[in-house]
């Protein structure tokens, strides 16, 4: 049987959902793979929703909002874009194809464009094949990675940076200065990498307690990097030493939040 991808679309009420309705009114046909979830604004879409959707086996996630300038809530769509940017970087870390998540703008009068975009996305995902974590035998590594990514998307630091991006880049920071976009991007991608690694460590230690050396092996990271992260995570109260085996401390994760 030919592969029929499962696609979830998150659409804003005012433009893209209206565009989807217009495709219907105009009887423009497109593949039936998409399941649409209506939200009031694309800015509502928490990165967590998208990761959750992917973790639950969606082969693709299509986020749609109003064209820049058209947003019913002034700039909600631009916030959606910032989150999508962060998410693309994060998904890239997990080994899942980042193109499984896609953001597009559709206006209320673009029924044909909506149908076209859905068709293109469906084709692209069909070519890409089933999500490695869907089906009977999900790729455990990627699934684990996505679970770490999901935790990462909920990380305080990351959310603060993304949440403040517009303020810092377009308006001013606490010193009355503008933060250059490149600088913020750099900081963000660094934060993504670090927090993602930490969450992988955390998730691993949730299952079993491990040593630095063992973690280093499993995560394909230098022992030094692992240790640096462990130090921070211990300080944050995320990890504790379960026991010491000979000269080797064995770490475990602690309940947080």
């Amino acid at each position: 049987m030919e592969f029929e991808p499962k696609i979830v679309g998150f659409l804003c009420n005012w433009c893209s959902y209206a565009g989807a309705d217009l495709a219907g009114v105009s009887r423009i046909q497109y593949p039936p793979n998409i399941r649409i979830v209506r939200v009031m604004c694309s800015g509502r879409i928490d990165p967590d929703f998208i990761l959750e959707t992917l973790i639950h086996g969606a082969d693709g996630v299509l986020v749609m909002g109003c064209h820049p300038g058209d947003c019913h809530y002034i700039e909600g769509n631009l916030h959606a874009e910032r989150k999508a940017k962060m998410l693309r970087n994060l998904i890239a870390e997990t080994g899942l194809e980042p193109e499984r998540m896609h953001l597009e703008w559709v206006s209320a009068s673009e029924g044909a464009r909506f149908a076209q975009l859905v068709k293109e996305f469906t084709d692209r995902i069909t070519k890409l094949g089933p999500s490695p974590i869907s089906g009977e035998n999900p790729n455990k590594v990627i699934l684990e990675n996505l679970l770490a990514a999901k935790r990462t998307a909920g990380d305080f630091r990351l959310r603060v940076i993304v949440g403040r991006e517009r303020e810092l880049v377009e308006d001013k920071n606490a010193y009355g200065e503008k933060v250059p976009q490149e600088k913020l991007d750099e900081l963000l991608s660094e934060a993504i990498k670090t927090e993602y690694t930490r969450n992988r460590i955390y998730n691993m230690l949730e299952k079993e307690s491990l040593s630095v050396r063992e973690l280093s092996k499993r995560l394909d990271l230098s022992t030094q990097d692992v240790l640096t992260n462990i130090v921070v995570m211990r300080k944050k109260g995320m990890l504790g030493v379960e026991r010491i085996e000979g000269t080797t401390p064995i770490y475990m994760s602690l309940e947080v939040r």
Binding site: A23, S26, H56
Partner: protein, 1001 residues
Amino acid sequence: MTNKVGSVLVVGGGIAGIQASLDMADSGFRVYLLDESPGIGGVMAQLDKTFPTNDCSMCILAPKLVAAGRHPNIHLITNADITGIKGEAGNFDVSVRRRPRYVIREKCTGCGVCAEKCPVEAIDEFNQGLMNRNSIYVKYVQTVPLTFLIDRDKCIGCGTCQEVCRAKAVMYDDKEEDVVLNVGSVVLAPGFEGFDPRLKREYGYGRFTNVVSSTDFERILSASGPYGGMVLRPYDGEVPRRIAFVQCVGSRDSQVGNNYCSAACCMYGMKESIIAKEHAPGVQCTIFFMDIRSYGKDFELYYKRAQDEYNVQFIRSRVASIDEIPGSKNLKVKYVVNEQPKEEEFELVVLSIGMQPPKHAKELAKALDIKLNDNGFCYTKEFSPVETSKPGVFVCGAFEGPKDIPESVSQASGAATKATSIIASERWKLTTTKVYPPEIDVSKQEPRIGVFVCHCGINIGGVVKVPEVVEYAKKLPNVVYAEQNLYTCSQDTQEKIRETIQEHKLNRVIVASCTPRTHEPLFRETVREAGLNIYLFEMANIRDQCSWVHMHEPKEATAKAKDLVRSIVAKASLLNPLPKPVISVTHSGLVIGGGLSGMAAAQDLAEQGFEVDLVEKEKDLGGHLRHIYYTIGPEDPQEKLQSLIKQVSNNKMIHLHLNTKIDNVEGYVGNFKTTLNSNGLKSEVNSGTIIVATGATEYKPTEYFYGINKNVVTQRELEEMMVNGKLQAKTVAMIQCVGSRNESNPNCSRICCTQAIKNSLKIKELSPETEVYILYKDMRTYGFIEEAYREAVSKGVICIRYDDENKINLTQENDQLKLSIWEPTIGLSVPIEPDLLVLSAATVANTDNEETAKMLKVPLTKDGFFLEAHMKLRPVDFATEGVFLCGLAHSPKLIEESLAQASAAASRALTVLSKNALETEGAISNVNEDLCSGCKVCEPLCEYHAIEMKDVDGKKRAHVLEALCKGCGVCGSACPTGAISMLHFTDNQIIAQVRAALKEA
């Protein structure tokens, strides 16, 4: 004294009529909204995008259509004409003739099966004849009311539509119907008629297929138009590589009898060329124009973008004629530049057609006994821009004179204030307030979901196996009842739903049918009538997003419908009833600024029975108007000013605060608390709304020896000289755009061209032999002001162009000024030795705007003027609710425009002040204070200033101002600690919906 009636008739359902209706219905009056066509929306519905933001027209219009269509106090009367009026202001009897529709509005569900089966095709007027519709049709798919009608001229009476209509809505023996409406006042908003370009025979419209009108081109550009948004030429469906836009077709043209300027065509011409380039990137657009009149707010920046970013070519010339080239069907455009005849070949020509009075203006004027002006538009006066010659009948929009959308919308709100002012005593007397049963407390109940699956005639049922979906739904968790309906939206099904809720003790209801965008309000109403909170209702869109788009895949479509039902059931299981917070309203207004606009707005509010605090920082009222002694019209501004000051000062409802500044503003819509400071003496005023009318400032020139040579003055100073009899000069030169349209202030100041023409006419009146030169960049005498420009030229005022390349050369010897300017048409440099040089100084934003803006939490434009919520459809609102804007503080404008805007701001304020309490949205953000870390990420993200940080036990915690929250959810999806949930779209609900969509439970 006749009895007053608390209802208003609005004639014309375009954007102006809709806005006026919404304002009046929202402030306590019954409104009849009449349109001669079968649906509301007017010309704006035909547009693709709107300038200067390039917003999609339908995206911003559709919510207003829906709001007007379902407003309990707006009664739509479409396909109808006015036949007469009796009575007087406050109590009119208006006779209306409703043409037969042949479809029963109460029964038609708008499903469209009739049109699909109709064997007769007819020209689709909405799409400018570029495609066909059927003889049973709707004007356009988003139209309101979405009721089909039969084009009796085309219908052959085959009976098919009646046969296929399962709702039994077709009625072939429908008759014309005469009704009499008893109303207190009338608002006219019949719009305009596009100039018929066939009358300019030399341009070949109607003869050459590839010559189209600008309205045709809007449809060509539109994604929902005939070519699906591809820019194609009608002759062969090819993408044109060169498009010419010909401006002033039917405007500024005595040959066709239209001397006036149509005011909006320069901007829409540029817009169409920009959008054409966006749709077909390789295309070269050329605009042939006489003056570019980009005089509105931020319009000049748009003009610059057209040139710099989109590389649109501008040629200053009126096109002489257009010929079709046989074979290629390309077009040869002939024109003259600097006396040299030229021609250029294009593949498509777009004629920017002007605005004319509506087709039936004369009949309407006769039926309503109102005067028209010389151009056939509605007659109004400068100081009463929305009043017709007949008391109690008001006007707005393009019928008052050519204008763009924001001007129409402002005027519409302005007319709403005036129309309801005379019947203010009747507020809330004819409106309906529905009484609902007490809400059933479902909080301790397990979810009991009822699912209603709609066949929508054959629209859904013809593709999706509805009975299968019903059976499937019955087995889903928490579903206790499911059924199918032929039309779930029909009246009898509403009754059925209510009964079922009671019988089966349903506490969640799902309808699987069409789109919540149009039908959710109806079903919410139904469940509310059965005692359920409206937020316990959800919809699955199995028509627009399923059966209609997978017509050839019934199996997949049925599977998808099941998935959609399953996922919405999962969400519904988690739905919570939400209260709609109610906030009290202080029934008085605050107006900041005591110039013309501020006084007019205050007076409007007072006349409607509300107290007003009017704050002016100077010691006198009057602002800018104190320096205006005459206008282009016949009225005396000083006399008007004095009478207004007197009215305002004597009005007991208005509390004047002169020499007073604003120190601080707290609170939100309905409940503002403002600290006033009068020379150190502080006081507090409470108000439900705030109107900003702080005016603007005349630019003090640093150019052209101003302040150095005593013979250099500004227009305002010239006016004072003339009034005081001090004008001696034999030669006067005026320079336009001083301090505007330059690098430091790229925008146009809009009023200075009119000012220059006004003053030059005055000079000619006082001393006809005085020579007057106006050196200008583009003469921006838009609308009817064009006629004054013509008059000035005919009286010998010499207008010479200059620009940044062809600069004015000015020197002085002793005190004698000498200037020279290159005159391109004669090819010579013209020397002028003026005794008086008059600078048309820009109007710039007040320097203290920033301070005021910060206090009110409202934004400014780059050049420091206040920035409204939406440039097109919310021209006097701010994104911050309860705060409104008018006059020069918004942008430079003329007296009549300021007055219309002042009344508009008052109208918007009245929609708040007239209510005892405001019911706000229930689906809003909600903060869990235990989880909130006080990080403040959310606060600046909120565009509506609906989040403030509050002290809770010594810690900062985010707090949602329920009255201001719009429910977008941006804060919730950014909150670093998960403390903010977006009610009705909570994380849990969305994730449950997604999970269920992906997997069977």
